[in-house]
C-alpha cells in the first residue's frame, strides 16, 4: 500500500511502531506535491528545507518517547490565514503578499506540540471571502475529483490537499461554511467546532463573532484527533472558552441506538439537487438501520440565515480589515500624496473585488442612519435563529441535512453572480450564527462522480454527538474511495 493512502492516525501509528520514519512520510508528501500541485495548486507556500529539518527533529522526539500522541509525525497543511512564524502568510491576498509573521497562531502551535509537521500553507479565497477558492490572488485551486470543478471555499486548498494526498490532514477556518463546504466538494471530512473551542489567536480575522478554526481530514477519526489537539482555552483570545470535555476521540463509538436525529423539511425544498437529496436521505436511512430515531420537523427561519449572515459578516469584515493601512505591514502603494491617499490607494490596489464588495457592504450597514435597519436587525434575527436551534435541540441530539445544495460547480461560473454563490451557503451559515458545531462527511457521489456531503449539526458543546453519529455512519458506509489523481 502507498503510504500516502494511510490516514493521519494510521501513519502516526506506523511511525511510532518503527515501520516508517517521519522523514519518509515528509519526503513522500513533498514528492506528491512536486508531481501534482502544478495541476491542483493546493498550496501557496511549501517550505521544503524547514520541513525536512523539522522531520528529523520530530523523529528524534518520537524515538525518545517524548511524542506519543495520535498525530505524532504526521505531515499536515495549514490554511494561509493562520500566522506561522517565519513562513509567508498571505491570506491569498496581494495585500499580504510579503507578510512573514513574527509569531505562530495558537492552533498551529498546538498541532506542532502534538507532533504534527507543518508542510506548507494552503490556498483559499482572499481573506476567506468566497465559496470557491477562485478569489485567491494566487490562482485557483482545482478539485482533485475533476479539475474542471472548484474545490469549494474558502478553505479549498486545505480540502483539496487532503483529497490529493498532498498532506495527511489540514487546518481550515469556517466563518459561514468554509471548512464544511470544501470538505463536501472534495470528498473529505471537515469539522467546525463550537464557537470559542479553538483559539483564534493568530488567525487573520474575517468575521470575528463567526470565525472558528477546525480540522479537515480523510476520516472522522483523523478529524477528532486533530480537533482534540487544537482545542484549548487561550487567554490571548477573549472569546476562548474553558472546556473540560475536549477528549473528542472518546466519542468515536459505533453505536447510535436511541439517538434522536431531526431532519428539517426546509433543507430539502427548492434549490437542492435531486442526487444530493437522495444521497443525504439514504445516509439517514443507514443511521435508522443502526438504531437511530429519525424525525422530520420544521426548523423555522431557514430563509433568513443568509441575509443575516452576510450583513453581520460584511460588517465585521469592514471593521477587521481596517487594519490594512499600508503602514504596519502589508502592501503600500508606490505613488501617493499625503496620508489619506496612501491609505485609499494601498487598500484599493491591495484588495481584490470580492473583499472590496464586502467591505463596502459592511461599511454601509454600519453607517449612521442604516445601522439600526441593517446591522442591528441582523443581530436580532441572529437571536431568533439561535432560539430556533435551541428549540430543535430540546428534541433532537443531532440535526441532519446536506452540507451544500449542489456538488462542486464548474470553475469560472460563480463569481459573476455573487448573490447566487451566497445562496449555496444556505445550510452552513446558520451554524456559525448560532455558534454550533457541525461536521461534513462524504455520503455519496452524483452521476458525474462528484462527492456529496452529509452535514450533521450538534448543539453547542455537543461535538461528541455529531462525532458519534458521523463515526457510526462512516463505519456502515465503508471506504469512500479516493480521486484518481
Amino acid at each position: 500500500m502507498d503510504l500516502l493512502q494511510l490516514t493521519a492516525v494510521e501513519l502516526s501509528g506506523k511511525i511510532k511502531a518503527g515501520e516508517l520514519t517521519v522523514v519518509e512520510a515528509a519526503e513522500a508528501v513533498l514528492e506528491q506535491i512536486k508531481k501534482k500541485d502544478g495541476i491542483y495548486r493546493c498550496y501557496i507556500t511549501v517550505d521544503e528545507a524547514t520541513v525536512m529539518k523539522k522531520a528529523g527533529e520530530i523523529q528524534k522526539k518520537i524515538d525518545a518517547g517524548e511524542l506519543t500522541g495520535p498525530l505524532a509525525g504526521t505531515p499536515v497543511a495549514v490554511k494561509d490565514n493562520m500566522c506561522t512564524k517565519g513562513m509567508l502568510t498571505t491570506c491569498a491576498s496581494k495585500m499580504l503578499g510579503n507578510f512573514v509573521p513574527v509569531y505562530t497562531a495558537e492552533a498551529v502551535l498546538r498541532l506542532e506540540e502534538a507532533g504534527a509537521l507543518v508542510i506548507g500553507k494552503t490556498n483559499m479565497d482572499e481573506f476567506a471571502m468566497g465559496s470557491t477558492t477562485e478569489t485567491s490572488a494566487y490562482g485557483e485551486t482545482k478539485n482533485p475529483w475533476d479539475i474542471r470543478k472548484v474545490p469549494g471555499g474558502s478553505s479549498g486548498g486545505s480540502a483539496a490537499a487532503v483529497a490529493a494526498r498532498e498532506c495527511f490532514a489540514a487546518l481550515g477556518s469556517d466563518t459561514g461554511g468554509s471548512i464544511r463546504q470544501p470538505a463536501s466538494f472534495c470528498g473529505v471530512v471537515g469539522i467546525k467546532p463550537t464557537y470559542g473551542t479553538v483559539s483564534r489567536y493568530g488567525l487573520i480575522a474575517y468575521g470575528s463573532s463567526l470565525d472558528q478554526i477546525g480540522p479537515i481530514g480523510k476520516d472522522v477519526t483523523d478529524c477528532a484527533a486533530l480537533l482534540e489537539a487544537v482545542a484549548s482555552y487561550d487567554k490571548k483570545d477573549s472569546t476562548s472558552l474553558k472546556r473540560q470535555d475536549t477528549d473528542f476521540t472518546s466519542a468515536l463509538v459505533d453505536d447510535v441506538k436511541g439517538m434522536k436525529i431531526g431532519i428539517p423539511r426546509e433543507y430539502f425544498g427548492d434549490g437542492i439537487e435531486a442526487e444530493v437529496k437522495e444521497a443525504v436521505l439514504n445516509a439517514a436511512q443507514v443511521l435508522e438501520g443502526k438504531g437511530a430515531i429519525l424525525e422530520e420537523f420544521d426548523l423555522s427561519l431557514v430563509e433568513y440565515a443568509i441575509p443575516a449572515y452576510y450583513t453581520i459578516a460584511a460588517a465585521e469584515a469592514s471593521s477587521n480589515l481596517e487594519r490594512f493601512d499600508g503602514i504596519k505591514y502589508g502592501y503600500r502603494t508606490e505613488d501617493y500624496e499625503g496620508l489619506h491617499q496612501m491609505y485609499k490607494k494601498s487598500r484599493s490596489e491591495g484588495f481584490g473585488a470580492e473583499v472590496k464588495r464586502r467591505i463596502m457592504l459592511g461599511s454601509f450597514v454600519l453607517s449612521s442612519g442604516y445601522y439600526d435597519a441593517y446591522y442591528l436587525k441582523a443581530l436580532k434575527v441572529k437571536a431568533l435563529i439561535k432560539k430556533a436551534f435551541d428549540d430543535a435541540f430540546a428534541k433532537y441530539d443531532v440535526i441532519l441535512g446536506p452540507t451544500a445544495p449542489t456538488t462542486a460547480p464548474v470553475l469560472g461560473k460563480s463569481l459573476a453572480e455573487p448573490l447566487k454563490m451566497y445562496l449555496g451557503d444556505i445550510y452552513t451559515v446558520s451554524v456559525n450564527l448560532a455558534g454550533l458545531p457541525g461536521i461534513s462527511l462524504p455520503c455519496g457521489k452524483d452521476s458525474g462522480g462528484m462527492p456529496i456531503g452529509l452535514h450533521l449539526i450538534g448543539d453547542c458543546f455537543k461535538e461528541k454527538n455529531i462525532l458519534r453519529v458521523a463515526y457510526a455512519y462512516e463505519r456502515a458506509r465503508g471506504p469512500f474511495g479516493e480521486p484518481e489523481l
Partner: protein
C-alpha cells in the same frame, strides 16, 4: 416562534446614488474607479434588496445578540508580560527608519 409581519407592499428596489457610493467609499477607505463604482452600486443594491427580507420578521421585542454565549468582557491585570518586540513589530513595515514606522507627512 418568531412572528412574521403581514405581507407589506413590495418595497422599492434599493437604488444606490452616486453620493452614497462616494460616502461609503470614504468610510471604507477605498478609491474606486468609475467602472468599479457602477459595479458597486449594482452589487450593493441587489444585496440590500435581498437583505431587506429580514424586514419580514417582527423583532420589536428581540434583544440583538452579538455573542451567542453569555460572555462578559475579559480583563487582566495591567501588567506587561511581553518583552521588547520593537524589532519584530517593524519587520513587516513597508517603511521603517530609526526604529519607527515611516508615514507620509501629515502636517504642513
Amino acid at each position: 416562534m418568531a412572528k412574521r409581519l403581514g405581507r407589506k407592499e413590495k418595497k422599492m428596489a434599493n437604488e444606490i446614488s452616486d453620493e452614497m457610493i462616494e460616502y461609503v467609499g470614504i468610510l471604507a477607505k477605498l478609491e474606486l474607479s468609475g467602472e468599479e463604482k457602477e459595479q458597486a452600486k449594482a452589487d450593493m443594491g441587489k444585496m440590500l434588496d435581498y437583505i431587506d427580507k429580514l424586514g419580514e420578521l417582527d423583532t420589536s421585542d428581540v434583544e440583538p445578540m452579538s455573542h451567542v454565549f453569555d460572555m462578559q468582557n475579559v480583563f487582566r491585570d495591567d501588567v506587561v508580560t511581553n518583552g521588547d518586540m520593537r524589532e519584530d513589530m517593524l519587520k513587516n513595515a513597508p517603511g521603517e527608519k530609526d526604529g519607527m514606522f515611516i508615514v507620509p507627512r501629515t502636517f504642513e
